[in-house]
Symmetry: C2
Subunit: 346 residues, 2 copies
């Protein structure tokens, strides 16, 4: 599952050609089809039937879109020796990876993430899947990409809100595993960092994630620390998606990290100074997510339905310190309510 | 992935209880719900919401039924530590196994096959999935059952056509890997064999399949010999399903073995006496499948779409001798046409 860091679109194209794949098939969304796929191919258009492009947005990461992807592959009768290129953000690498994982019980795929979030997180680690109704990634499997290609050229035209969303997962990498990296990151000006400067941080994030995943690919233990901020974050994301006021994944996770850091003060060794530092930095970058007291019951319900939980006990991955994270830590409903209230009242 | 051979329904129930599974959830079809599930549970009814029962039949082994299964699990919020019991024939173990493989990226499942076919074949080896339109098992993955329980009591009430269908896969096991077993099997009177006598043969079949699968779980090589009879058999099965005149899987595979044995005469070391012996025994047990000259083009098309093929070359698993099978053997369209004609004109 090598990661290739390639500076220019032309070189990405050359690298793919060098692998001598007989037939490849692109999975992407309509935005990326227009803005990214043609750049990668040097302006050439893919032949009809070689591209599956879907309506962008989390609400389309469904079994229905998955089935449409399978249908187009079956019409072209891709064999198990052919290959899929997922070109896009995390929705595309999750959905396209799941199509590749299930089509004829699995064909190879290559991820070419175009968003910062996908570059540092979604495109790595083999988690693929789709949502089921409002439940994020409820249907899926584990299948790592055969190759992942990181090309920072894509970042040059990425909207600033997309940069911020991806940056939240990078902050998480520092918080769970590397306090030096966290301190480096909080000095970054997200909006004014050049593509080549991003590349160094991206490498660090990928190295942190890859080391954790390689120790526990199927998330039976240590890998769960990558879920820091996500128990609450996913609930917020699902709730706001369902309310037709979606927020970016990273922004929901950023709020989740503030709330879960606050919970940490009560149940782990995390001191309140560190929790405050996390809160202050995240609020200064992301502001507050619009959740209200009326949303708390529903958010609790969504946390209980989270994939990681068992028997109505919510178990979270929580920081012991900046750079050190535990997992499978039981958290009472009362603590969750209090922490949500704390955030809402900030 | 242990296999447990348990003589009575009561002991099956006791075995499951002994594992101390906190929550289990039954996946089955309507027929099995009536005839098998209650027997296993000693007449007790499962609480509402603990059973997902679907309309029986190959035409319901779809992504739609899969999604309904996921939906019921999500309503009950099964956690990754809970367990699914698939109780039924091959359609149920394939579909239920795929639900378990994908729900929250995978929870454990136990197979309790109730048909001879599922006991000797479908319930073992980790191939799970559903059909896509007329394409058999086109969407799926590999996930072995945590336990498989073989209880020959189920065979006592199995209709004779179901016994014959399962018996075809047993014949295949002899043909691909054990000529002594083949010779034992052809002396069996399928309709008048007792449940306890079946058990010995079932064990031999499971041992043959398990040995092959453990050497090559993901079917990159040797495991392909288990597909003997299936390139042609699947095409026949898909074609007749689509024409609303379905045949049992085993009967289609039996015809496939006759046709593929005939192809073997031209492209492997198989001698015509052995091919004739296979044909004679299979025709005496199964008769002929109703396919006609007009069907040949469509059957060829379906074989080209088969999962195992690559780049419009049909590659088959073909016998070198009774008890010895090769794989990835290219077969020309002309040979396939001639062999189909040979069968049709028998």
């Amino acid at each position: 599952m090598p990661v290739h860091y390639i500076k220019s679109f032309t070189d990405v194209n050359a690298l793919i050609q060098s692998w001598g794949i007989e037939n490849y098939y692109v999975i992407t969304d309509h935005n990326c089809e227009t803005h990214c796929v043609s750049k990668l191919l040097g302006g050439q258009k893919l032949p009809t039937g070689r591209i599956f492009s879907f309506e962008p947005g989390e609400k389309n990461k469904t079994l229905h879109t998955f089935e449409n992807g399978i249908e187009l592959l079956s019409q072209n009768n891709l064999s198990r020796k052919d290959c899929i290129l997922n070109i896009g953000g995390g929705i595309t690498t999750d959905l396209g990876g799941f199509v590749a994982a299930c089509y004829k019980r699995g064909i190879d795929f290559i991820n070419i993430p175009t968003s910062l979030l996908a570059m540092v997180d979604a495109a790595h680690g083999g988690k693929v899947g789709v949502n089921h109704k409002h439940l994020k990634n409820y249907i899926g499997s584990f299948k790592p990409a055969k190759h992942t290609i990181i090309c920072p050229e894509f970042l040059k035209t990425l909207p600033s809100d997309e940069l911020e969303s991806g940056f939240a997962e990078m902050l998480k990498h520092g918080l769970i595993a590397d306090s030096d990296y966290w301190h480096d990151l909080i000095s970054i000006d997200v909006q004014h960092t050049t593509a080549s400067n991003w590349l160094n941080y991206i490498k660090t994030s990928i190295d942190i994630k890859s080391a954790i995943v390689s120790n526990d690919p199927l998330e039976t233990g240590e890998r769960k620390i990558l879920n820091f901020g996500h128990t609450v974050g996913h609930a917020i994301e699902s709730h706001l998606l369902h309310a037709n006021t979606p927020v970016h994944h990273g922004n929901a996770v950023a709020a989740g990290m503030v709330i879960e850091a606050h919970i940490g003060i009560s149940v782990t060794d995390l001191n309140s100074q560190s929790a405050d530092a996390i809160k202050n930095h995240i609020l200064s970058t992301y502001g507050k997510i619009p959740i209200h007291r009326d949303d708390i019951d529903r958010l609790i319900e969504l946390m209980l339905a989270d994939k990681k939980n068992h028997n109505d006990n919510v178990r979270m991955s929580l920081l012991n310190d900046i750079g050190d994270c535990g997992y499978d830590i039981p958290v009472s409903e009362e603590l969750m309510r209090n922490a949500l209230l704390y955030y809402i009242d900030l």
